[in-house]
């Protein structure tokens, strides 16, 4: 690369990113740094090493919360990746444009119902007394709401709710990315005798790699931060999912109920570390940053 070309765009690149960097520092780096600072100090601003982390780990709710989040992730991540990619590929094969567009809209609709509304709707969907899917619930042997929201079902229920609200948006992203694949490539695969399945596996999915990795990282981070669903479910139901169901809720409780910002920050820093390790693995394995 000629030296002139590196220097010129170099300056321009800085120009393009400056506004973003300002916001990043103000609302990303500074608060994160502050949180890390909280995690290693006590309320009197003295450095206390790992004692906040120990306090969090020794809390009787910590291990159960870790378990809850882990089981939820095991349910949530594979189902999200498999179903979103499979549905996007299937949807992409629908050649009637209006049908494809209508389906994408229908799949997306719940995405507008994130948070309060979504949980509210599901409180009714999961109640055999009033649910439109009552026949399904009865088929599974559930006759009361209490039986449906039994603690051992919660990871699956949260997965269903999260999939319902989140999958449509990802499908739109995947569909757009699929459209981005040159029809020539698909045509070439077809001429080579590849079926839909092999085309998907050897042509389309590899080209979706970046998007899938992006989705996994965000879904993983989002999954470890499970908060709104159990919080609202505990408020608006018989309270079976406690206010300390997930790690993020525990952190929130530390911060605001126990007035202990430092231990709360320690929990969050742990979540951040786990997220970083997983993101790092994915990024490294998928050569995410390659500028190819």
């Amino acid at each position: 690369m000629a030296s002139g070309r590196v220097r010129w765009p170099g300056r321009a690149g800085h120009g393009f990113v400056t506004p973003y960097v300002v916001l990043l520092i103000a609302f990303g780096v500074v608060p994160t740094g502050y949180a890390i600072y909280f995690a290693f100090t006590d309320a009197g601003d003295t450095f206390v090493g790992l004692s906040n982390f120990l306090a969090a780990a020794n809390d009787f709710r910590f291990v159960t919360a870790v378990g809850h989040v882990a089981i939820y992730l095991i349910c949530w991540l594979p189902s999200l990746v498999v179903l979103v990619v499979a549905l996007a590929l299937t949807l992409h094969r629908v050649t009637v444009r209006s049908a494809s567009r209508a389906l994408r809209f229908l799949y997306y609709v719940p995405g507008a119902l994130a948070g309060t509304t979504g949980v509210l709707v599901w409180l009714f969907m999961l109640d055999p007394a009033v649910s439109p899917a009552a026949f399904l619930l009865h088929a599974f042997g559930f006759d009361t709401f209490g039986q449906v929201v039994a603690p051992e079902h919660l990871p699956i229920l949260f997965t269903v709710i999260a999939f319902w609200t989140g999958a449509g948006g990802w499908m739109v992203v995947m569909y757009g990315a699929l459209n981005n694949i040159s029809p020539d490539l698909i045509e070439a695969a077809k001429i080579d005798g590849a079926g839909a399945w092999r085309t998907a596996r050897h042509v389309q999915i590899p080209l979706l790699r970046k998007w899938i990795v992006y989705m996994v990282i965000l879904a993983f981070a989002g999954g470890t931060q499970l908060f709104v669903e159990p919080q609202l479910l505990s408020q608006a139901s018989v309270g079976v999912a406690g206010r300390d169901y997930s790690l993020n809720q525990l952190s929130y409780d530390f911060a605001f109920q126990n007035n202990n910002v430092n231990t709360a920050a320690a929990v969050s820093v742990e979540l951040l570390l786990v997220g970083l390790v997983v993101a790092g693995l994915f990024v490294a394995r998928s050569r995410f940053f390659d500028a190819d």
């Binding site: 765009p9 990113v17 973003y20 509304t117 399945w197 998907a200 709104v228 609202l232």
Partner: protein, 316 residues
């Protein structure tokens, strides 16, 4: 599931060919029907899964609380009940629901404009230019993206207080405008969909770096703008936590936090709510109002969201 047959490969043929259009019969046509039927069944099944709850919500707004519990879940209530629900809802604290909607629109739109101005150039620069710190910036963005929200709230509150913005519109708009997801989205878009040769050609033609962005990249970036803008708008519109903590006054709340307030006044969810309680169908109606803008915007944006991106632009 589809099988590996040439017949199926036909089905992946370029878009715009109707399924029903007769095609030259491939040798093993037999596999074709069942596979398509299966796909269609799966798609319809999922469509039901995604839409029945929404349909229920729409119908719930037309019922009385009694009908909601005792009637068929998917039956229509009555226009009269809908009107009564609307009257009760708008009577809640003198039309505060409309005020909440207005607040949401204000916060989301302001943040949307800033986000687009910031995230698109940043994503472009990260993807297609070389500069010192590029990789660091990408990594930092990724870290911030996966930082748990609950931790950032207290530091953010202190920071916003330090600059004296607590209670102002900007106290939520500015944090909303910081949208690392959008920068990443733009980065991925530009790095996968914009050929570097195109930019190189423009540079050879004597375009300045800004000129390349303005005249070459930006016109092709409509899908990225739509994607980033759409997710930013929806994310901010549905954000609950940040305004919940940052905004002290009820007449400043966005609709999502307002819905939480309404929920807390439904006796079935909060037995301490007294005589002025909100009924569940009214809550459903409020929820519909809250999601309507997002759905309308999606309908309009969808065309851009899935546009053929650059492939279409260079070929037609």
């Amino acid at each position: 599931m589809p099988t590996d047959t040439p017949a199926d490969a036909r089905r992946t043929a370029p878009r715009r060919h109707s399924v029903t259009a007769p095609r030259p019969a491939p040798p093993r046509r037999g596999h074709c029907g069942p596979s398509s039927a299966l796909s269609a069944a799966v798609l319809v099944l999922f469509a039901l899964f995604f839409t029945v709850p929404v349909l229920w919500l729409v119908l719930a707004a037309t019922k009385t609380d009694e009908q909601l519990v005792h009637g068929n879940p998917l039956s229509f209530g009555s226009w009269q009940a809908l009107r009564a629900n609307w009257a009760a809802l708008s009577g809640f604290q003198d039309d505060v629901v409309l005020l909440w909607l207005r607040n949401s629109a204000l916060y989301s739109c302001l943040a949307l404009v800033i986000t687009l101005c910031v995230a698109i150039p940043a994503g472009y620069a990260l993807a297609l230019t070389e500069f010192r710190g590029r990789r660091t910036l990408l990594v930092v963005t990724l870290i911030v993206m996966i930082m748990p929200n609950s931790t950032l709230v207290v530091p953010l509150f202190l920071e916003i207080n330090a600059v004296g913005l607590i209670g102002s519109t900007w106290s939520v708009v500015l944090p909303f405008s910081f949208f690392p997801f959008g920068v990443y989205l733009a980065h991925i878009f530009f790095s996968t969909a914009l050929p570097r040769e195109l930019l190189a050609a423009a540079r050879l033609d004597g375009c300045s770096e800004f000129g390349v962005f303005r005249h070459v990249a930006l016109p092709l970036a409509t899908p990225a703008v739509a994607l980033v803008g759409f997710f930013s708008f929806v994310g901010n519109w549905t954000n609950y936590f940040l305004p919940y903590v940052l905004l002290p006054e009820s007449d400043q709340l966005p609709i999502q936090v307002g819905l939480g307030t309404l929920l807390a006044n439904v006796p079935q969810f909060n037995p301490t709510a007294g005589a002025l309680a909100v009924e569940r169908p009214q809550l459903a109606l409020a929820a519909l109002l809250a999601i309507a803008p997002v759905l309308v915007i999606f309908l309009f944006a969808q065309r851009f969201l899935v546009a053929g991106m650059l492939a279409g632009a260079t070929k037609e």
